[in-house]
Each structure stands twice: as C-alpha cells, then as structure tokens.
C-alpha cells in the first residue's frame, strides 16, 4: 500500500508539473500571479452550460478566526485552480467562460441559484452564522442531492461554531457527523489517499518556515475529514477540519517548496472529493 501511494503521488506530481506549463500557456499567466481583486460573480439564473463548476457559499461571519477571511477565504483561485486541474487530470468537462477560464460562482444560501450548483464549497466556516432561512435552505439543498465541502477551519472553537450551525441544518440525531474512514470510496475515486493531509496557509507556512503544519498548536494537531451522510449512506457534507486544503490549490504557484509539500496531496484529495460528489 505505501508503494502504491508513493506511485500515485509521484504520478500526480508529474501530472501537476506538466499541466502547470500547459495552464500557463493556456491562460496566459502563471497561476501564482493570480490574486485577490477578482469581482464576485454571483451564480446566474441559468448556468451558461451544464459542465462542472463550483459555487462558493457566501455567508455571514459571526466571529473572527486568526488569518481567516470569512466566506472569501481562498476565493477565487482555490476553486479556479482546482477546476483547471480537474479538467487536466480527469475527463470532467469544466464550464469555461469565453476567455476559456473556468467559471466559478458565488451564491447565497437564500438564492434560488443555489440549486443550479450541485457542488458547493465554503471556507473558514468556524465563523459562519446561519439564519433560520439559510439553515432551512441548506437542508433542502443537501437533501435534494447537493454537496458541500467546508474547509480551512482550525481548532476547537471553530469546530464548535461550525458543528453548532450545521446541526441546525441537519440534526445529529438524524444525520450524525462522523469521521470518514480511510477505506471510504471518497479516498480512492481517482487517487489513493491514505491520510488526511494537514495543509497550512502559505503565510503561516512561511512564518514557521515549514516546521509545523498545525496552525493552532496543540488544538489543531490532527487534521480530520468528517462527513454527514444521507439515509442511503452517501456523503453530502464533507468537512476538512484543522487543514486548509484549498490553499494548496490557491497558492500552488507561489513557492515551489510549498507546492511540493502540499499540492500533490491537496489536489489528490480535492479531485477525489469532486469525483465522489459527481458519482455518489
């Protein structure tokens, strides 16, 4: 199994490096050059096509987390880069705008356009506060077949906040939160992922010079991948706690060392989750 994992990681690394060159040629600039300042593009009433896209949940933050940016955390290049890699590493048709860049959207839970996005993400959810209407809409969305991946929230306080909010959406008595075991299909839809990678944001990584990956010290020592399943056992919410997987996509081009340390594992998990969401 370790040999298998090593082969998988090497293959993914080679594929990522090769595709980085292609991406540069394709999109006219290196991914590392991409930064904040992109306008928010709300999901339209009609998607331009039926190809795969990612919608980011815009929510209200009711508290603050260190280094957190609320709903905008890792936006938009986390999903842009992931979509590029998805199109390169799989057969998934990704929705592109006229400039041939991946379409990614922002959506509020109260927007009807939420239901045009079978796949959604949210970051820094340790600050999330949901209104009753938002909680009800999210519940409806998930039970109809929608998928949500929440990422980049660290420590006990963030977990308590998030778990309290998601419990209003899906009561634990009916939809318990569980640690997803490593033999779950989620970890092998495309790449064999044998552990939940702990990925820090690049500023923290630079600050500690790569000596630790726990942003909250002992309170976030271990990364978790937890989930909530529907009545048929299919994951509808995936939560990566004590890790910032999206930063391995967003900042993949900023520092080769950061890339080598985090991006292969981050993309392996990211693409696995996307494929799981599209197949289960």
């Amino acid at each position: 199994m370790p040999g298998c994992r090593r082969r998988t990681s090497v293959a993914l690394l080679v594929a990522l490096m090769a595709s980085a060159g292609l991406a540069y040629a394709q999109f006219g600039r290196g991914l590392a050059e991409l930064g904040f300042g992109e306008p928010v593009r709300f999901a339209p009433a009609q998607m331009p096509d039926a190809n795969f896209t990612i919608c980011r949940i815009m929510y209200t933050s009711v508290r603050r987390e260190p280094n957190g940016g609320g709903w905008r955390t890792d936006f938009p290049y986390g999903e842009i880069n992931l979509l590029i890699r998805l199109s390169e590493l799989t057969k998934t048709p990704v929705s592109l705008n006229p400039s041939q860049r991946p379409n990614q959207w922002v959506v509020r839970l109260t927007d009807e356009e939420l239901f045009n996005c079978p796949y959604t993400v949210a970051s820094d959810v340790g600050t999330m506060g949901l209104s009753d209407a938002e909680a009800e809409r999210l519940r409806l969305y998930l039970l109809k077949g929608g998928f949500l991946w929440v990422d980049d929230f660290w420590g006990t306080a963030a977990w308590v906040q998030w778990s309290r909010e998601i419990s209003r959406v899906l009561p634990p008595s009916e939809y318990p939160i569980e640690d997803v075991p490593l033999d779950d299909p989620l970890f092998s839809t495309q790449f064999l992922v044998t552990k939940v990678p702990q990925i820090t944001n690049i500023q923290f990584w630079r600050g500690v010079r790569g000596t630790t990956t726990s942003e909250r010290g002992p309170d976030s020592r271990e990364a978790h991948l937890r989930g909530i399943r529907d009545t048929r056992g299919r994951l509808m919410v995936v939560m990566t706690h004590n890790t910032d997987v999206a930063d391995s996509w967003e900042r993949e081009g900023e520092d080769p060392a950061f890339f080598y340390q985090f991006s292969p594992d981050g993309y392996a998990l990211g693409i696995n989750v996307l494929l799981y969401a599209m197949t289960h």
Partner: protein, 763 residues
C-alpha cells in the same frame, strides 16, 4: 314465416324442390290427347287476336296473345302431370342425432326473456316437445349434450348448462364417431354458436362432408344483446418486475349504456390496486380505459380487470377478465457506461438506487484509461473496463451509454453493442452529451444502425457547438406511454411536464428513423422543436435515445419540492422499461395460459447459450410444481420447427396455479433456467361475445348440405331432415299440378288478360 308461406303455396317444403327430380308423364294416351288439344288451341288463340286488328294496337294484341299463350302453356304443363321424385327417409329406419349445447352461455336469458337453455330444454329435451315429436315420428332420435365434448343425454335433467367451453368441432366429431355404422339421416346442432375453442371447425366439417352427413343447425339466442358491458381486451405483459407500475389499456365494449360512466378496477388477488373511470361512447363503440396499477406482490399473481355489473345487465359475468402475471422479484442488471464525470450520472444513479429490482452497474471513465466501477456484484465484474466478449456484455439486460465517444470502443465492441440489442434482445439507451450521437462519432457505426435517431454516416466526431435550452413535453405517443408518466394520471402527468424546468441538450437535433416513435420533444427558446426521447424496436430488443444531458434539473431545481418524485419516477420507469421483456437464456412459456383442470398443458422453452445462439442439443427438463405441492419432471424435446425451441406436455390435475421451472444444461454445463406459470381452472370464456353467433352455424349447415334455422323456424326441421336423402330412403313422388300456386297463377293470368282487354277497350 318464409317456410310457412312457401309451404302454403307450393304444398311442399323447399327441401323437396331442392332435392327432388322433376319428371313429366308423357307416356299415357290421355296426356297425349290433352297435349294435342292444347297445342291445337294455341294457334287458334293466336289467330283469333290477329283477326281483331281494327280494335287494337299491335302491342296490345301481342300482350294479350302472350297472356293467353301463358295460360295455355300452364294448362299444358299440368296436363303432362309434373312430378317431383324425391328420396325420403324411411320412417323409423334412420337415426337423427340431436346435439344440444350444454355450455354456460346457454344460461343467458335472451330468448324471449328466458334463458337459452330453458328454450332448448323445452324444444329439444322434452319428449313431448313439438320438434322432438316431429323428429321421433320419422326417426330414431339420439340426443347428445356437448360443451367441450359430446355425450349421450338420458333425460332433460342431464342438461346442466354449466360447461365451461363450447367446442362445435369436437361435438360434431364425437357424434359422428358415436353413430358410425348406423343409418343416419342428419345431425341437428342446437347451439348459440359461440365456439370458445381455438381449434378450427374446418377439420370437423371435412369429416362430416366425407361421410355426407348434413348438419341442421339451430341458432339459439339474440344476435345483439340490449344491455351488456364486456371487458373485451386487456393487454398486460406476461411477466413484470416487482413494483412495476403497469399502464394497462382495458378495452370495453357495451350496448345499451351509451353515455354512462363506470369505474374500471384492477384487483391483485382481490386487492384493488388501480381504478379508472371511463364514459361509454355510442352503442357498439369500444371504450378504452387506461388504468394504472402497481404489481407490488411477487410471484404468480392473478390480476382481475373489472367493471361493476349494472343493475339491468343481461350478462354480468363478462364484466371482468383475469390474467395471470408473473411478478418477478429479481434484480435486473443494467450497465451504464459514462465517459465523463458529470452530475447526470450521479442523479440518475440516485434515482434508480432505491429500486430493489434494478442493479445499475456504472462504469465511469474518470480519466484516460482510468475507470471507476460503481455497484459491481463481484470484484471481477468489469475489471477490464467495458466488456470485451459477448458473454460478458450479454449478462446485462440493459445498456446505457452516456457521454462516451465511439472511438472509446473497438470495432468489435461497437458490433457487440448492436448485437446486444439485435440478437440478445437487450435494451440500449444512449444519453445526450458532448461525446454522444453524431458529436461522439457514432455516424456509420453499427450502433448508429441500431439507434432510433438517424445519424448521417458522414458525420465525424466533433465538439458540440450549440446549447439548446429545452422545455420538454410528451408527444401523443408519449402521453400514452408508461415510461413518460410522471404523475398519477394522464392529465396530471401532462400538467407536470408543463411545470418542469428547462433542461439542456448539446447534440445537434436528429430526425427519428422511420418506424421509430417519438415520446418526448423539446422546444427551445426560439420555438424550435427537436426530438428528445425516441425509441424503436431493433431486432429482438429496443433502442432508446434521450438527447438530454441534465435531467438532474428535475430533481435539483429551486422550483422542485424536496418530496417531489418526478425525477426518480422518470428514471425508474425509463430503466425498468429498458429491461422490460428482455429475455434470459432460458425463456419458458405455456402455450396457453389457462387450461381446464385435467386437461393437457403444453410448455415451450427457448434455449440459447451465453452469446444468445440457439441451442438444439441441450438437455431441457421442466419441473412442474402442482398446486398441492407435488412435482413432476417433464423432459422437453427440441421441436425441430425452430432453433432452440423445446416443448413438452403434461396433464394437469386439480385447479390452481402450476409453476414450471425449466432447467437447461449441456453436458455438465448448466445453461440456465427460466420460470413460468399456468392456471388450471374453469374458463369464463363462455360469457364473452355472448351473442348468438350465426356465421359458424350457417357455415356448418351450408358446407354439409344442411340448413340453418332460427328458433321460430325450427319446427319444420323434421321434414327437411326427412328429405335430406341420407340413410335408408325410399323414392316418393310428389305431384305438382295440384299446388295452390298453379291455380293462383292460372287465375291470375286469366284475370290479367281480361283486365288488360278492359283497359285497352277490347272487351
């Protein structure tokens, strides 16, 4: 009435003239003298009129001369004593067989308000009845009763009118054999003519003709019932998957209830599982009720389609039909090959996932040469990707191709897919997508030959150019098709289709092939219409094209409530329809679904190997489980009529359902097995089409030299049988000169001459 008038005018019955030979007495002196006198008078009469030329026109004289000549000619004919020489049965020297219909349909009360059987009992079974008395005066009468076969009747009390079948041919054969060697003058067949057997009358009539036995038939009953409702036809498949939603057309005929609304109920072993109201059109016109029912209980189920009897209805027994349906509780394997990860597959899979009778195995291509298998039955299933052998592919009953280009298959695999439908009899569904249909490069491939949409063979694989946003709506055929019913009733289904959100397609619109049926069309935002769901039979199977790529909108869209089941129902029905009727390697079926208890039942089986090539050298054994649990092993033999067809017959015993499990093997290799069911029980066929059927009775009479009678005319039958010319006969002469018609004609001619002369002023 005709016979009475004829007999009053001509003294004798028509049969005497039909059978008799006309002779004249030209040998006696008296006759010769009389003829000579008349012959002499005739020229005189002619000259007489010629001499009165100043009193009339030439035309008047010709008419009067002709009238007088006719009078004289008639006298002349009478003077030579015309005589019919007939062969008449010698009294009490011949046998007449009287066959009385003893079936249930004779209980129908349409002979002057009394049951047909009561009339038969009065007229033919009682010794003092006029008909029997007339026959008995001339013949030795043997009375038989018949339903499925004929047997001697000892007394009228033996008539029960409870026979579950009417077999006219068997009855005639039985009587003929019973009377073999006896001098028989004829056979009298009294029946309503409703032959419920599937055997042809022709053979029986040939036997009667060969022995020159005339059959005199009496049609009992009314040709049109004043008030009756009949469940005429019900079309259900012989076998369905458990929990199948059946959409059954029930055709009802009626007389006397035009404009009335009735309810058609479907009962599954007594439990109502579906109802539909229907309003009757004009009398005689059939009405069709489309009834929905769910086959929720597995095993052999007796479905009863029934209209409640009306208060004044003559035949309530034909208001229901029963059909034995094998509700199969199995998991039908369907292979879905998807070429690109997309939400359409996810939601389709979720929709079908809860159907316990479908096993949707997904082969998802995630990257080049990388596949994900979902729901395989074993670790080996689809391990090598899409099946490379026919045995592997043909193990599935349905095949769905998603957005997967033709180039992903080898040439042999493309041919295998076509063979999957054509030879194996499977169901193939191609979904819309960037790599499907023409865009997927299927033009000119064997798969394109099988599909119901016409793809130009010159089309090359290409990227889709247009996205069409389509509002989907069923065609007329789609409105009536089970796969596109998305609500509980047809009207609700139509309303639901109108409300569903738009979906999209990326494939260039394609025309349907001749013979294909369009079930759904889509209209884009510019009002252009295109085919969306089309199907056609292809070889032994069927192919379906659904050119949409995101039907998941019918599940996820904001306008769709969480509890809405439209998307789930659509895909469950679609996938169930795809595998509906797909054969296995051993397909067993009874030749007739119902037999009478104690009758022989024949079972047939079609046997093929894993590649669906017919096997003629298999060892095929049917294990018959009787209603009481007892079993018999019945070897089936290759028929020699058709490749892979085996047949065997066993005798049923008690009434009930018989399970027949057919196992086929070849040496030590087990080919497969199949199950079917049949019923042994009394038939209610006697009550269907309960009017008197004149045609077969008239045909029987005419082809054998007999005669057809209505009940009113039956009294004269004895005389007709007497002159039928069969049996021990004697020659009799019947003089014709003294017939009343001769005197009437003579007087008429004389009066006509006199009257004419008065009119033209020559008297």
């Amino acid at each position: 009435m005709f016979d009475t008038i004829f007999e009053a005018l001509f003294t004798y019955r028509p049969v005497v003239f039909q059978q008799g030979e006309l002779r004249f007495d030209l040998g006696s002196t008296g006759s010769l003298v009389a003829v000579g006198l008349v012959a002499a008078v005739m020229p005189v009469a002619a000259v007489n009129y010629r001499c009165v030329r100043e009193k009339g026109r030439v035309r008047d004289r010709i008419v009067l001369t002709a009238l007088r000549m006719a009078v004289l000619a008639l006298v002349l004919v009478c003077l030579v004593r015309p005589t019919l020489v007939v062969r008449a049965a010698v009294p009490q020297q011949n046998v007449v067989a009287v066959l009385l219909d003893d079936s249930r349909s004779m209980q129908i009360p349409d002979v002057g308000g009394q049951p047909r059987g009561a009339w038969v009992r009065q007229q033919f079974a009682a010794p003092d009845s006029p008909v029997i008395r007339a026959l008995s005066e001339r013949f030795l009468v043997r009375v038989f009763r018949f339903s499925s076969s004929a047997e001697r009747l000892d007394g009228s009390g033996d008539l029960t009118f409870d026979g579950s079948q009417t077999r006219l041919g068997a009855a005639l054969d039985g009587a003929r054999e019973e009377l073999a060697g006896l001098p028989v003058s004829g056979v009298v067949l009294v029946s309503d003519g409703a032959d419920t057997s599937e055997a042809s009358l022709t053979d029986a009539l040939l036997g009667m003709k060969a022995e020159r036995l005339p059959v005199f038939t009496v049609g009992v009953g009314s040709a049109r019932l004043p008030r009756d409702i009949q469940v005429d036809r019900v079309s259900t498949p012989r076998a369905v998957l458990k929990d199948a939603s059946l959409l059954v057309d029930v055709v009802i005929t009626q007389t006397g209830y035009s404009g009335r609304t009735v309810t058609v109920d479907v009962e599954d072993e007594g439990r109502i599982v579906g109802s539909q109201q229907v309003t009757f059109p004009s009398d005689g016109s059939p009405a069709t009720a489309r009834v929905r029912a769910v086959a929720s209980e597995a095993g052999p189920r007796l479905f009863r389609f029934r209209v409640a009897p009306q208060a004044d209805e003559l035949v309530p027994q034909n208001n229901a039909r029963e059909l034995l349906v094998h509700v199969r509780d199995v998991r039908e394997p369907i292979l879905y090959f998807e070429g690109e990860p997309r939400f359409e597959m996810k939601f389709l899979r979720r929709a079908v996932d809860e159907d316990e009778n479908l096993r949707l195995v997904v082969l998802q291509r995630t990257a080049d040469n990388k596949y994900m298998r979902l729901n395989p039955e074993s670790p080996e299933e689809l391990e090598g990707g899409f099946p490379k052998t026919r045995e592997e592919l043909f193990a599935y009953r349905g095949l769905m191709l998603g957005s997967i280009e033709a180039a992903a298959f080898s040439g042999d695999q493309l041919q295998m897919i076509a063979d999957f439908v054509d030879r194996r009899g499977g169901g193939l569904l191609m979904l819309g997508g960037a790599r499907a249909f023409g865009e997927g490069g299927y033009g000119g491939t064997p798969v394109a030959d099988a599909l119901p949409l016409a793809i130009d063979p010159k089309t090359r694989a290409s990227e889709p150019v247009d996205l069409a946003r389509l509002q989907v709506f069923p065609t007329r055929a789609g409105q009536a098709h089970a796969s596109t019913q998305v609500a509980d009733s047809e009207s609700a289904s139509l309303a639901r289709w109108r409300d569903l959100p738009q979906v999209t397609g990326v494939n260039a619109p394609l025309p349907a092939k001749p013979g294909a049926t369009v079930l759904l069309t889509g209209t884009d935002e510019r009002g252009r219409s295109q085919n969306v769901l089309v199907w056609q039979p292809y070889g032994r199977g069927k192919t379906v094209a659904l050119s949409l790529q995101d039907t998941w909108q019918w599940q996820m869209h904001a306008s769709i409530p969480l509890e809405d089941q439209t998307h789930e129902n659509f895909w469950r029905q679609m996938t169930r329809w795809l595998v509906d009727g797909v054969p296995g390697v051993v397909e067993a079926r009874p030749v007739t679904e119902r037999v009478e208890p104690g009758e022989a039942a024949t079972v047939e089986a079609a046997v093929v190997d894993g590649t669906f090539v017919e096997l003629n050298d298999a060892s095929v054994v049917a294990r018959v489980t009787r209603p009481n649990g007892g079993t018999i092993d019945l070897p089936l033999q290759w028929t020699g009529e058709r490749d892979g067809q085996y047949r065997g017959t066993f005798v049923t015993g008690e009434a009930g359902t018989y399970e027949v499990t057919v196992d086929a093997s070849r040496g030590a290799t087990i080919v497969g097995s199949g199950v079917t069911y049949l019923r042994a029980g009394p038939s209610d066929a006697e009550y269907f089409d309960p009017t008197m059927h004149e045609a077969p009775l008239r045909r029987t009479a005419e082809e054998t030299g007999g005669r057809f009678y209505t009940p009113e005319a039956a009294l004269g039958m004895a005389e007709d049988v007497r002159y039928a010319g069969r049996g021990v006969t004697s020659v009799e002469e019947r003089e014709l000169w003294n017939m009343p018609i001769v005197l009437i004609a003579l007087m008429g001619l004389v009066c006509a001459e006199w009257g004419y002369r008065r009119v033209v002023g020559m008297s």
